[in-house]
């Protein structure tokens, strides 16, 4: 199968699903690779197939009609042998090779057994999404403190609520669906702390007016929150988590415009779980070593630079979804379609969407990007966030590197980016390779610049035995 593949798509979330379906509709043979056990990605995460009837999650989702249409199209193409769907496959490296790409995978369908393999195709589309951007604060490493993305994944993937009294904090609209989802499962959401001020949106009225669908979505969550008596507190933050074996309380403070806590406003709230989220960091591990150009996004992340057709600066390499800038599932679906149309055009195949369809997708994408930009500007990382950290706050959990150690690497060691801090302190050298602490270390050292993740030549851990076996085959 892989001998005659036209396109490899990495990531079966909204962008990758839409891209694969469009490319398949245009007659291409596609391999769709995802590390999960089902398509949908983080956004459309579902319980395992066998448990779906027992664990209803439809009310937690948005855009399910789109998801079902894409899933059904993928299944149909898979049955016909046009689509090679590789679930539970992790990509550990993607490289250019001759006139195309070699995608090195590890098959974990029989986990813990790992089998390495290689997929090859002339074109590669990377739609690997994003993950929660985390900012450390005192107590964030206590059991029971999660990311809001983690809370959402537990809810959507298994109907599990992480606690019975939960405080949420951070910034951005993603706090709302998580709060609403928890409330709908009977959780007492005791606080929702939004660091930004809602009036910040008023500086960008255009994008708001042009995206009425986002209003409807927001109003739906607002209604759910109101029904459960949950208030969102603007300009507040969870500045400390407290507890022994696990979190039992949080401290909540009002923030000044620069994000520093207002003295005397701090109050303690009893909780048994906490969710925190400061936006998202794009997952660029496969793209950076391929050498494609990056560009700065308004949320402080470096993202992949693409043209109007989602082409990266590397010929034959396309990107769609959050890797090109965080903007949500609807934008990701549109970008996936545009990317697939470019693949079709560049392969000499006929377009699927037609001129009017294509132009409709393009204008929707432009509109949604405008919204994403306004969202990023309205929900920045508070500039004074580092003031919350005491010197003994752990920043890198894998290697147990404290904020004090990072600060002294900058002042005494002369480090001025997160890579140099890593060399001097080991922050980011552990199991997660800086995927968790990288943005935070960056903010402590060079907050004024966009965050470019460290180059990771190995995108996911893989056993040396699996690598050795594939070497013996050659």
């Amino acid at each position: 199968m892989s001998e005659s593949t036209d396109l490899i798509v990495v990531g079966a979330g909204p962008a990758g699903m839409a891209a694969a379906v469009t490319a398949l509709a245009g007659g291409l043979r596609v391999v769709l690779v995802d590390s999960g056990t089902a398509v949908g990605g983080q956004y459309w995460r579902h319980p395992p197939e066998h448990a779906r009837a027992a664990i209803p999650t439809d009310d937690l989702h948005h855009g399910l009609r789109e998801y079902r249409a894409l899933s059904q199209a993928l299944s149909a193409h898979s049955r016909r042998g046009r689509l090679d769907l590789r679930l539970a496959h992790h990509v550990w490296s993607a490289v250019r090779e001759d006139d195309g790409f070699a995608v090195h995978v590890v098959d974990r369908r029989d986990a813990p057994r790992e089998t390495a393999g290689v997929l090859r195709a002339p074109r590669l589309l990377v739609a690997t999404g994003a993950y929660d951007r985390q900012l450390p604060f005192p107590g964030w490493d206590l059991p029971g403190v999660l990311t809001i993305g983690g809370l959402q994944a537990l809810l959507k993937g298994g109907g599990v609520a992480a606690g019975s009294r939960v405080a949420l904090g951070g910034t951005g609209p993603f706090l709302l669906p998580v709060a609403a989802g928890l409330a709908a499962r009977g959780v007492d959401v005791v606080a929702v702390c939004e660091a930004a001020h809602p009036l910040a949106w008023l500086r960008h009225p255009g994008p708001l007016l042009r995206n009425p669908a986002k209003w409807t979505e927001g109003a739906r969550y607002g209604a759910t929150l109101a029904r459960h008596g949950i208030r969102v507190h603007p300009r507040t933050a969870i500045t400390r988590a407290e507890g022994g074996d696990r979190v039992t309380a949080v401290r909540i403070a009002s923030l000044r415009p620069d994000g520093s806590p207002r003295l005397g406003t701090e109050r303690q709230v009893q909780v048994d779980a906490v969710g925190v989220g400061w936006g998202f960091a794009p997952q660029l591990d496969l793209l950076v070593p391929l050498g494609c150009a990056l560009t700065d996004a308004p949320d402080g992340n470096a993202v992949v630079a693409v043209d109007g057709g989602q082409r990266t600066t590397v010929p034959g390499l396309y990107a769609a979804g959050e890797t090109c800038g965080v903007g949500g599932a609807a934008l990701a679906v549109g970008e996936g379609r545009l990317a697939a149309e470019s693949v079709l055009a560049d392969s000499g195949a006929a377009p699927v969407l037609g001129r009017r369809g294509l132009s409709a997708v393009r204008s929707a994408v432009a509109r949604q990007r405008g919204f994403a930009r306004a969202m990023a500007l309205a929900h920045p990382i508070p500039p004074a966030w580092p003031a919350w950290l005491s010197d003994d706050t752990v920043v890198c959990r894998c290697e147990e590197v404290t904020a004090g150690a990072v600060r002294s690497a900058c002042t005494g060691g002369g480090a001025h980016d997160h890579r140099q801090v890593k060399q001097l302190t080991r922050a980011g050298m552990g199991w997660c390779q800086g995927r968790m602490c990288g943005p935070a270390v960056h903010c402590l050292t060079a907050q004024e610049q966009a965050y470019t993740p460290a180059e990771r030549l190995v995108a996911t851990p893989i056993s040396l035995g699996a690598l050795a076996d594939i070497d013996e085959e050659h």
Partner: protein, 388 residues
């Protein structure tokens, strides 16, 4: 009047040059376009090895350097740069290989290296594969965390009066009789200098050219594999006997030989590959799988261990695989200290001491220019002073 010295390069070699030159009372400025130790220094395992060196000019420098690393440890604290006197273990895979290794070790011993033949290698490294015929233990082999080592040496130099000047050197300013009078940087600064030390590592060829003293220093790419952290499983730096042949080889294609060692952080480092591909940074998965296969053959437990990271760098090598250390007759005042290939960490303190001795015109900390003439740049020049 105090001699003004500009050291080009803030890798471990440049930092060691600055450390020794300031300790000798010279006025030192270190210039680098990047951060301390951000070039090849950060891309190796931090080896301080005698075991892989044949008797000759490089081993002479390495023996001095080994002693000077201990001195640096006494002066600045061995833990500040994770000095670990772990020792090396070279294992043979066949009885013929063991005989060749024994002959090699005997010549090293005659040159002053401590060697300890090991019959049952699993007595010293319990997790090695069964059936290996034997090996040689080299108790003097050691390891440092190389970026910390460079940072600690440079910090000590700064505390003794050296300066760090961020910038890229674009050329030399010359005065009377063509002697250097300063260096020019990309932003137009001129730093006055009576002497310039070319410690630019893999970029030493280009810096030499800009200073009017070109030397042939070429990149040789290598990948290192890093595993998940484990409890201590590998005590020595362990490598297969074919490593020595590869270090000295001039083959253009991919060569791999297995080198496995633990670190303080608990990760295991696996090397070493050698490719001559210029400054091509492209990932090569075939190198990764080959190194993994060789490491699993040496230490079978590694099959279940996860690779979490890989990095690559460019070793600076001269055509004869010896570093070039000493004054360049074509550009009076320019002293080279580059081309250390994969041995720059180990050779750094002796290189710094030897450069300082050349600057002073007399021996310094055991480094006597008269004893290291085999490293002089003259070897690349014809009698007329032109490159061969």
């Amino acid at each position: 009047m105090t001699l003004k010295v500009v050291v080009v390069g803030a890798g471990v070699v440049g930092a060691a040059c600055a450390f020794h030159a300031t300790s000798a009372g010279l006025d030192v400025t270190v210039v680098d376009r990047g951060a301390v130790g951000s070039g090849t220094t950060s891309r190796g395992e931090g080896n301080i090895l005698l075991s892989d060196k044949e008797p000759g000019p490089e081993l002479d420098l390495a023996r001095l350097s080994r002693a000077l690393w201990d001195e640096v440890g006494e002066e600045l604290g061995p833990d500040s740069f994770e000095l670990d006197r772990k020792g090396g273990l070279v294992v043979a895979s066949t009885t013929e290989g063991l005989a060749a290794l024994g002959g090699f070790a005997a010549r090293q011993e005659a040159a002053g290296v401590r060697v300890e033949p090991v019959g049952e290698v699993r007595d010293v490294e319990p997790h090695l594969a069964p059936g290996l015929p034997g090996g040689i233990r080299y108790p003097q082999d050691a390891q440092v965390q190389p970026v910390l080592a460079a940072a600690v040496l440079l910090r000590a130099a700064v505390e003794r009066g050296a300066r760090f000047h961020p910038g890229e050197v674009t050329g030399a300013v010359t005065g009377r009789e063509g002697r250097v009078a300063g260096v020019r940087t990309a932003v137009g600064d001129v730093l006055p200098a009576d002497a310039i030390v070319n410690a630019a590592g893999t970029w030493g060829g280009e810096v030499g050219r800009r200073l009017g003293a070109p030397v042939e220093v070429l990149p040789r790419r290598g990948f290192v594999l890093v595993t998940e952290p484990l409890p201590p499983m590998v005590r020595h730096k362990v490598y297969s006997a074919d490593y020595v042949a590869n270090v000295a080889s001039s083959d253009a294609g991919l060569e791999t030989s297995c080198v496995v060692e633990g670190t303080r952080g608990g990760t295991i480092l696996i090397g070493a590959s050698r490719e001559r591909v210029g400054f091509d940074t492209t990932m090569n998965p075939a190198v990764i799988t080959r190194l993994a296969a060789q490491a699993c053959r040496l230490f079978p437990f590694l099959r279940e261990t996860h690779l979490i990271r890989s990095y690559r760098g460019f070793r600076p090598y001269c055509p004869d695989h010896l570093p070039v250390v000493g004054p360049d007759p074509r550009a009076p005042g320019v002293i080279h200290a580059c081309g250390h290939e994969g041995a720059g960490i180990g050779l750094a303190p002796a290189t710094g001491a030897l450069v300082t001795a050349h600057l002073l015109g007399r021996p310094w900390r055991g480094a006597d220019p008269a004893a290291h003439t085999g490293l002089l740049p003259n070897r690349f020049l014809t009698s007329g002073g032109a490159p061969e």
